[in-house]
């Protein structure tokens, strides 16, 4: 039983890890700083480890998917991130990919009427 739970935990976190970039990009159409992004994701049901999210933001910026700048207008300096043009494009592409995956998984799990329903939507 215990072993099953840890297996579940490991696999579930792997699933989440796979979707993390999409989740993050989806919330950065407006500029946000790290902590506000954590809260925003949490409000929408996604609890992300802070020490995972912040390095990820930097890596996305390094790959020029995000732009960032220091804002000095508030009580303390904050680094804001926002989608770059490339990031916006990637978000659109990834979203399409996501839709396709959901569709496939739903079909595999037998939740949507096999074939017909989804095909009609596509047409």
């Amino acid at each position: 039983m215990g072993e099953n739970e840890t297996t579940l935990g490991a696999l579930a976190s792997e699933l989440r890890r796979g979707t993390l970039v999409l989740s993050v990009l989806s919330q950065l159409e407006e500029r946000r700083y790290g902590y506000s992004l954590v809260q925003r994701l949490a409000e929408r049901g996604l609890d992300v480890d802070q020490s995972t999210l912040y390095p990820l933001l930097r890596r996305l910026e390094e790959r020029q998917l995000l732009d960032s700048d220091w804002s000095l207008e508030e009580s303390r300096p904050r680094r804001y991130y926002v989608l770059s043009a490339a990031g916006r494009q990637l978000l659109a592409d990834l979203t399409k990919e996501w839709d396709r995956m959901v569709e496939v998984q739903e079909r595999l799990l037998g939740r949507s009427p096999t074939g017909s329903g989804t095909k009609e939507e596509k047409e």
């Binding site: 700083y33 902590y35 506000s36 809260q39 802070q50 020490s51 995972t52 912040y54 303390r76 680094r79």
Partner: protein
């Protein structure tokens, strides 16, 4: 807030130098956001800070996430590697030192053979340090590889870490307290007074007879040597005084004072070299007719050559250390 600075320092020292400052600045602001959220208006206590840090993760873990895994020895095991390396090197040097001591003690050594043993010691010390470094690093590299292949078992890292164990933020090497320069200036002034005005006070004392009722002192310095060396010493001392005064006033090492220090040390090396070849500093008769201290007599006859050699080596190490610091600071400046 001191705890948070210690945490940030501990993360920072594990990050690549290029991104260090920026990442630490961002983390500071993020941690304060988390702290504000936790305290909701009231003043944060030490325990609040500790809780936020614990929640955030151990410095090793956080740094590893920023740094990625592109190291020979990754940040997760770096501390252990450094610890093991130091222990191994210390044990090897300790063993070699003991061996050297034993061989010197049980050998009726002439100065030459003793010197040769000491030279051998340094040679094998250098070799063994490099060997130890090689072996330890290869072993840790293999551990790192194995760890990475296993998908970096995070469990090991989830062991409880206590923010109270964070290292203190060290004072920068550049900073100079007031005590050091003052002590140095006092000793320099004392030496100047002694050697310039009362060189006769430097004596060798020996007890006469079985009962030490009185002791007999004879001036030890060789006047010819003193006449030759004193002007050089005075130049060094005055330059040293000026440097210490500047350090005392500014409270930190700067590019100028570092370069001045290097120049002064190079000058000192020159003086030591000159004294090695020049007239003996002590009068040859100081230890004469005194069989118990034949070794000292030999040393006087050899005008303390090996002593100057050691002084030169130590000074040269100091010069190299300072050169490295100058170059590093220059790089930091261009990077900033």
């Amino acid at each position: 807030m001191e705890l948070m600075e210690r945490y940030l320092y501990d993360i920072g020292r594990r990050l690549p130098a290029k991104q260090r400052e920026d990442i630490v600045k961002e983390l500071r602001s993020l941690l304060q956001d988390a702290l504000d959220a936790r305290c909701a208006g009231r003043a944060p206590t030490e325990e609040d800070v500790a809780a936020v840090l614990r929640d955030f993760g151990s410095p090793t873990e956080v740094a590893a996430r920023y740094a990625g895994e592109r190291y020979l020895i990754g940040p997760r095991i770096f501390d252990l590697w450094w610890l093991v390396l130091r222990i191994v090197v210390l044990c090897m040097l300790g063993g070699l030192l003991v061996a050297l001591g034993v061989s010197l003690a049980f050998d009726t050594a002439t100065l030459e053979s003793a010197l040769k043993r000491i030279a051998d010691f340094f040679a094998s010390a250098v070799t063994s340090v490099f060997t130890a470094f090689g072996y330890v690093t290869v072993i840790f590299f293999l551990i790192e590889r194995a760890r990475r292949d296993k998908g970096a078992k995070e469990k090991l890292e989830q062991k409880i870490w206590d923010p109270k164990d964070l290292p203190r933020v060290p004072v920068r090497v550049d900073r100079v307290g007031p005590v050091g320069p003052v002590v140095a200036m006092v000793f320099t002034l004392f030496a100047m007074w002694l050697f310039n005005l009362h060189p006769e006070l430097i004596m060798v004392f020996r007890s006469l007879g079985e009962d030490v009722h009185w002791i007999d002192g004879i001036p030890a310095l060789n006047p010819a040597a003193l006449a030759a060396y004193l002007p050089l010493w005075n130049i060094g001392w005055i330059a040293g005084l000026a440097l210490q005064a500047v350090l005392f006033g500014r409270g930190r090492w700067e590019l100028g004072s570092r370069i001045a220090h290097i120049a002064l040390q190079v000058f000192n090396i020159g003086v030591f070299g000159f004294m090695m070849g020049g007239p003996a500093l002590l009068r040859p008769e100081v230890f004469a007719g005194w069989p118990e201290v034949a070794v000292l007599n030999d040393m006087v006859a050899g005008s303390f050559r090996w002593l100057f050699l050691i002084l030169i080596v130590v000074t040269a190490i100091d010069v190299i250390k300072n050169l490295v610091l100058v170059v590093r600071r220059a790089f930091e400046k261009t990077a900033a």
